[in-house]
């Protein structure tokens, strides 16, 4: 498989960024629920033991405590796996965090299928939908380590709740390391078709765009890392200038980024949209990258879907 940059751990990027933020903001507090080694909050805990609370396996209470700390005027980061954050603690995120507009940043690692061998129980593919439905919640899904660093700084920089979804796996560097809330990043120019992707699928979008470029097709790639608020203007431009949109995500197609883009395009500048994501099923155990292939996110499948849209536009036979 073609890889674009050296794969790097987004979790490591998060851990290092937290330490930097902790140096700059002496009131910043971090919580974890017995997964600090895996989420990398352990680095903050070692550097600032007084401002780190590993609460054990009590995700709803970790989130409620984070809210209580934030209501005192602090920036609070809380981390665990995505399945436990968005899943186990949904009620606390809704009531204790969002309903208080508390300044809590949930950084959830191990989102999506790339959890791999631990299986479908742990592979939440519903979290983006759950989180973006919450009033006042900012939702971010970075595509690589450099943009993770920028995203962590960005979410720390405003007063209000945020959910950042990170994968377990290392991802190749695909961005220039910049990230702005509400902005989509155009990572590849194109005029025949746009592929909108988040997280691990951004690299696959770029691979497909490069492949299709070889045969003279011009495919734009947008990294929609800022899922909420999202860049309506960039989607409008993509629809107007490229005439069709393919959306890729490691998430159920029912409620994720594909659903978001389809409705935004329908209301903005209607053009054909196809969604490639996890169908309405749970995952299973397996090697992480082969799970993406198994659940319809292979580069071959993405290429076929792109081809269908290009054919409908009369760009190919």
């Amino acid at each position: 498989m073609t890889r674009l940059g050296t794969p790097e751990s987004l979790r490591d990027a998060y851990g290092a960024s937290l330490v930097e933020l902790g140096e700059r903001d002496p009131r910043l507090v971090v919580l974890d629920a017995d997964l600090s080694g895996s989420t990398r909050t352990v680095q903050f805990g070692q550097r600032f033991p007084d401002r780190f609370f590993n609460v054990g396996v009590m995700e709803p209470t970790m989130v409620a405590m984070a809210s209580g700390l934030a209501l005192g005027g602090r920036t609070v980061f809380a981390s665990t796996f995505a399945v436990f954050a968005a899943g186990q603690a949904y009620g606390a995120i809704r009531q204790s965090v969002c309903y208080n507009r508390a300044n809590v940043k949930l950084v959830a690692t191990h989102g999506g299928l790339l959890v791999g061998p631990d299986g479908g129980m742990q592979q939440i593919v519903e979290d983006i939908g759950l989180m973006r439905g919450l009033p006042g919640m900012t939702v971010v899904v970075p595509a690589d380590a450099p943009s993770t660093r920028a995203a962590v700084r960005e979410v720390a920089g405003f007063d209000g709740p945020a959910y950042v979804r990170l994968p377990r796996e290392r991802l190749p560097t695909v961005t220039d390391g910049s990230f702005r809330i509400g902005r989509a990043a155009e990572l590849h120019p194109g005029s025949d078709l746009t592929i909108v992707a988040v997280g691990a699928l951004v690299a696959r979008a770029l691979e497909v765009a490069a492949d299709l470029g070889q045969v003279g097709l011009s495919v734009r790639v947008l990294d929609l890392a800022s899922v909420k608020p999202f860049d309506q203007a960039a989607l409008d431009r993509a629809a107007r200038e490229t005439g069709a949109i393919l959306v890729l995500e490691e998430h159920t197609v029912l409620t994720g980024v594909g659903a978001l883009v389809a409705s935004a395009v329908a209301e903005g500048y209607p053009v054909p949209v196809r969604r490639v994501g996890v169908p309405d099923v749970f995952g299973e155990s397996g090697e992480p990258w082969s799970l993406l292939d198994r659940y319809g996110l292979s580069t071959e499948r993405i290429r076929e879907e792109a081809w269908e849209l290009l054919r409908a536009r009369g760009k190919v036979q």
């Binding site: 405590m65 209580g68 005192g72 606390a92 009531q95 507009r101």
Partner: protein, 284 residues
């Protein structure tokens, strides 16, 4: 042992609590909504906290050193609003807006609309967690303020209540007091026939709380317990306050049917008569 509270203070608090109860009846009648039973049972606890025990400044609701109150049983909002009004945090007239469209006084407590309430509550099992966070915040900041979490007894069936209690015990939060409004009755009936929570005081003790049991309608006992909690430096305190659901209104007392049912006009008139305030009802 703490000093005996002066008789004059006790009678002032009793008459304030009576006024709070009248407002609960007026509010729930006017809104045709609300939870009178659990509001009336927690009235004396909230009155003791807001009108006496807590360090507060109604002129500066965001004063950093203020004591914090999290009403985890957020359905008792009418009692909290009335007590806040009596303490000067909001105009008495505003109580008439309870649960109406556009009101700051939401049906369940809302920090966003009414910042002088410390936290939005009403989904049971989260208030103690937020209170633990607030107590840790005070400790980290070196502030001396205290944090009070008021919970209901149905709420003791919620798993996250025990998570949060465990955390408060683990961090030995001497600035945290958990008050249980033990009225014995939840929405569908008696707690002990639905899902028993006893022996509740032993459970708090097992979770590392210094635990006191009091009559939650006796101001002398309430103030003494709060003073003891303040003097205790080795960890959090739990106060099991034995109360009566619907306290002060004979036909509501002990009745689960008034958990979430507002009074009819006839019932509201009778209730206000019993509370020593016959006469005008607010518009409904």
């Amino acid at each position: 042992m703490a000093e005996e509270p002066p008789a004059e203070l006790l009678s002032t608090l009793a008459s304030t609590a009576r006024e709070v109860r009248r407002e609960i009846i007026r509010m729930t009648y006017a809104a045709a909504s609300g939870h009178p039973g659990g509001s009336l049972s927690v009235t004396d606890l909230l009155t003791a906290l807001l009108l006496h025990e807590m360090r507060l400044d109604p002129g500066r609701p965001d004063w950093g050193d203020r004591d914090r109150l999290v009403l985890s049983k957020g359905h008792a909002a009418p009692a909290l609003y009335a007590a806040l009004a009596m303490r000067g945090f909001l105009p008495r007239d505003e109580l008439r807006t309870f649960a109406q469209l556009g009101s700051r006084l939401q049906g369940h407590v809302d920090h966003r609309t009414l910042p002088c309430v410390e936290a939005s509550t009403g989904a049971l099992g989260q208030g103690i967690g937020m209170a633990v966070g607030m107590a840790l915040d005070a400790r980290l900041a070196g502030r001396m303020n205290r944090v009070y979490a008021v919970i209901g007894d149905g709420e003791c069936q919620v798993g996250s209540t025990w998570e949060a209690l465990m955390a408060g015990g683990h961090y030995r939060l001497a600035n945290l007091v958990v008050l249980l409004d033990r009225n014995g009755v939840e929405t569908d009936g008696p707690t002990e026939s639905i899902m028993g929570i006893e022996p509740i005081a032993d459970k708090f003790r097992a979770f590392r709380y210094r635990t006191l049991e009091i009559d939650g309608h006796d101001f002398r006992q309430i103030l003494t317990a709060l003073a003891e909690a303040r003097a205790w430096r080795d960890g959090p305190t739990a106060i099991v306050a034995h109360t009566v659901k619907g306290k002060g209104v004979s036909f509501m007392e002990g009745q689960h049917t008034f958990h979430a049912k507002p009074p009819t006009e006839v019932e509201a008139r009778r209730a206000l008569e019993e509370l020593g305030a016959p006469g005008e009802l607010p518009a409904r």
